[in-house]
């Protein structure tokens, strides 16, 4: 259901202020969402003054700098730092993206960093994505083919392969799903853009023989049709993919077959 306000235990308080100690003239204020599960206190916003003269270009570089030089208690996920693993997905400057590919120069003024929206927070910038993974599992994201042979290849023409472009590149970072208001209000039932894009990817795969069943499975008032083309997903995707279009294509397939 639509719940605009945050629950009582999620209201955000003002946190600590970390003043710059380097004496740099080129400072930026970074506001970071913090929540420590061990204290039982409400979340807070800590503000860090960061020396931008000695900081590389991406938001993740700022976070690394804070963790290494100012406050080692801050927690966030990161791994590849090249926009491939999808670990560092978070909300920066009011928009979801990957911290490792988002240049901080693109954000004006103070930089606000929050975890991905409308998730249960595990610690600081780490949200719980287990619900999304369960939904991903529910669409059975693997090839279903009745071929008994284990030695012959299943052929796919170049044209059929091209149909998967724009869907196979998804890294499941959840930027799109957690940017979607429909997913905020109905995340327990609505599959959300990330999972539906993957559903589309398997529906479109010419080697898959389960197309009809896959389509029938997502054809549900809540699972699929909660998409109202708000298009936050497409504008959030750090890989430049278009989940909204994939969802529209699924709807079209259902309407025309």
């Amino acid at each position: 259901m639509v719940q605009i306000n945050l629950p009582q235990n999620s209201k955000i308080n003002k946190g600590k202020y970390f003043k710059d100690k380097t004496g740099s003239k080129n400072l930026r204020k970074i506001n970071v969402y913090r929540w420590d599960p061990s204290t039982g206190e409400n979340p807070r916003i800590d503000t860090y003054e960061v020396d931008m003269d000695n900081c590389p270009s991406k938001v993740l570089d700022i976070l690394n700098k804070i963790k290494n030089e100012i406050d080692p208690t801050i927690a966030y996920r990161r791994s590849c730092a090249h926009g491939v693993c999808g670990s560092c997905a978070m909300n920066m400057g009011g928009k979801n993206g990957l911290a490792c590919t988002k240049p901080h120069a693109e954000i004006k003024g103070d930089i606000d960093i929050y975890p991905l929206p409308h998730l249960k927070v595990k610690k600081d910038l780490i949200g719980d994505l287990s619900g999304l993974y369960k939904q991903y599992q529910s669409i059975e994201p693997w090839l279903k083919n009745n071929s008994k042979s284990e030695t012959t290849e299943i052929h796919q023409s170049q044209e059929d392969r091209a149909k998967l472009d724009g869907a196979y590149e998804c890294i499941m970072c959840a930027c799109c799903s957690t940017s979607c208001p429909s997913y905020w209000w109905n995340g327990d039932k609505y599959l959300g853009p990330a999972v539906l894009l993957q559903a589309y990817r398997w529906i479109m795969d010419s080697r898959d023989e389960d197309k009809k069943e896959r389509l029938q499975k997502v054809a549900d008032e809540l699972k699929l049709y909660r998409c109202h083309t708000i298009l936050n997903c497409t504008s959030a995707c750090p890989k430049g993919l278009n989940p909204a279009k994939a969802i529209a294509e699924i709807k079209k397939m259902l309407a025309t077959t």
Binding site: Y114, K120, T229, I230, L231, N232
Partner: protein, 126 residues
């Protein structure tokens, strides 16, 4: 996990043109339903005699009445244009990020232009 806080969502997420058009589409939809009901009542009152007509006429000529008329025209204009945008999207077109921005802006500005045009047309007719 029960007691873990919920990360902020609508409080912090920046509005985009497409999300703004989407929520306005819903709001104008609700307004339109209410207004259509109102218009039905208005016509029903006509059946009850001329004096009712005079009262409604007086109301619609007042400042509040004119505001209501203009607001209704805008709401219908917005809904119509936005619905055309959705119709095109249902055919699978216009999902490109720049295109959605442009069509969104067309809906927003177009609704005001359409409002003025319809209002002027109505004034010259009646």
């Amino acid at each position: 996990m029960e007691n873990n806080p919920l990360s902020p969502h609508i409080q912090i997420y920046r509005w985009h043109i497409s999300s703004l058009v989407s929520i306005s589409h819903r709001i104008t939809g609700i307004i339109n339903i209410l207004v259509i009901t109102l218009i039905c009542f208005w016509f029903m009152f006509f059946l009850l005699g001329e004096s009712n007509y005079e009262v409604i006429k007086l109301f619609l000529q007042s400042f509040l009445g004119k505001f209501l008329i203009l607001g209704t025209i805008w709401s219908f204009s917005f809904q119509t244009l936005s619905e055309i945008r959705h119709l095109i999207m249902d055919f699978g077109y216009g999902f490109d990020l720049t295109t959605t921005k442009v069509t969104g802006l067309i809906v927003i500005f177009g609704s005001f232009i359409l409002t003025v045009l319809i209002y002027l047309l109505g004034r010259s007719l009646f």
